[in-house]
Amino acid sequence: MDTEDMVRGALRDEAARVAVADWSAAPVRVQVRRQRRGRRVAMGASAVVAALAVVAGTGAVLSAQRAVQAVGPASQAPLVPEGPAPEAVVVEPGQQLPLGRQDWWMQLKDQEICIHDAPAYRSGPGCGGHSWAGGTTEITMQYYGSPPQYQEALYNLIYHGPGQVARMAIEVDGHAYWATVASLPGNPGYATGYVWGPSNKTPNGSTAYPLEGIKLAAYDAQGKVLASKTLSS
């Protein structure tokens, strides 16, 4: 019996130990109803934001775009940060990109972002990271706390999908920040952004604000929202 057959046998025996109850449709219906309710609330809120942006007469490209795209991804876009966005960087696959803090760097690979964090996380010489599969367009985030100061944390935004990301922004606890966008040459189908922001923990260990509610967005060069999300968990 070779290794493959041994692994097959072991997996089969392990799976057979599990007594699976009959399927119930109720949890699926509950989830679907909750998600539909959430989308209706988000679309209602975005209409209010769009109306206020028009009334305030703001000239910024992004808020005008939000007014036009009141329904859809822009409905969850964060506030527009003050000041210009940092210049986007293009890196070669595997190139170490310093993140502005000692021992912290990032590497971009084919379908993986690798972040090397501070020694306190005991990650060793390698890195934690984020990878994905499939072609779904999405934007998401990883949060890296920064002991022992607890004063700041690294927010790593990841977008994968069509289009060229020119800017990324995050809204944390009511404050908006531009992220530095990094991508591979050409059109790799994804981009990442990083920004140092407030730690969500206070020095005594209590939670300053929940990660739920953080807003993320990726924009193209014209200010159009490519994807946006409000974290739910």
Partner: protein, 206 residues
């Protein structure tokens, strides 16, 4: 190397006049989906169990996957291989959960006190099987390759389609996964039942 991406139709094909689901309204659509889900449920929960190592989490992951499938049922039911879509959604769902869990772990301002972790963690370790412990030591994607190849019996091509990666990637992940499991105590009883040793593969291994 650019990873392959499974093409998923982005627009629903024109409605067919002979499709009973489109003619029957929401009731028939739900029954159609429920029949589909009920027949896949047990096997998918077992797959998710091998991916997560926890039965309740496995149920949650599969139910969340079914919720996504149900929302897009009119399109998915017309795919040539809806099961491939479901496996892809299941694996991605699990990978996302794992990433979120890691983010929460990184929130802790100090690393957990060893005595406290030993108290809770030790009980968890005792209850887990040796095989699940071995699987937990594999990186998530490698674990997914091992489970899909050797429990779901998917071909390398099918696994590549599910994971949205290249065939070469699947082969190397499978090879590394097997290498790590090969010497693990979890497989000791399987090796002991045969005359072969677990120090390599034979010429027929594929």
């Amino acid at each position: 190397m650019t990873a392959s991406v499974l093409h998923i139709p982005v627009e629903d094909p024109p409605p067919s006049t002979t499709a009973p689901a489109s003619a029957g309204g929401p009731g028939l659509r739900e029954m159609d989906f429920e029949g589909f889900a009920a027949t896949r449920w047990r096997r998918l929960v077992r797959t998710a169990y091998l991916l997560t190592g926890d039965y309740h989490e496995a149920e949650d992951v599969v139910q969340a996957t079914f919720a996504k499938v149900f929302r897009n049922w009119s399109r998915i039911s017309r795919l040539e291989e809806p099961d491939a879509y479901i496996h892809r959604a299941l694996v991605n769902n699990n990978l996302s959960r794992h990433r979120r869990r890691r983010v929460r772990q990184l929130l802790m301002p100090v690393l957990p006190d060893r005595a406290h972790a030993a108290g809770g963690g030790h009980r968890d370790v005792e209850e887990r099987s040796v095989l699940l412990q071995a699987l937990a030591e594999l990186p998530q994607r490698q674990r997914a390759v091992v489970v899909l190849r050797y429990w779901e019996d998917m071909s390398e091509y099918q696994v590549a389609e599910v994971l949205g990666c290249s065939l070469g990637n699947v082969k190397s992940q499978a090879s590394r996964g097997l290498a790590k499991l090969r010497g693990h105590p979890a497989l000791a009883s399987y090796a002991a039942n045969t005359d072969s040793t677990i120090d390599g593969t034979n010429g027929d291994n594929r």
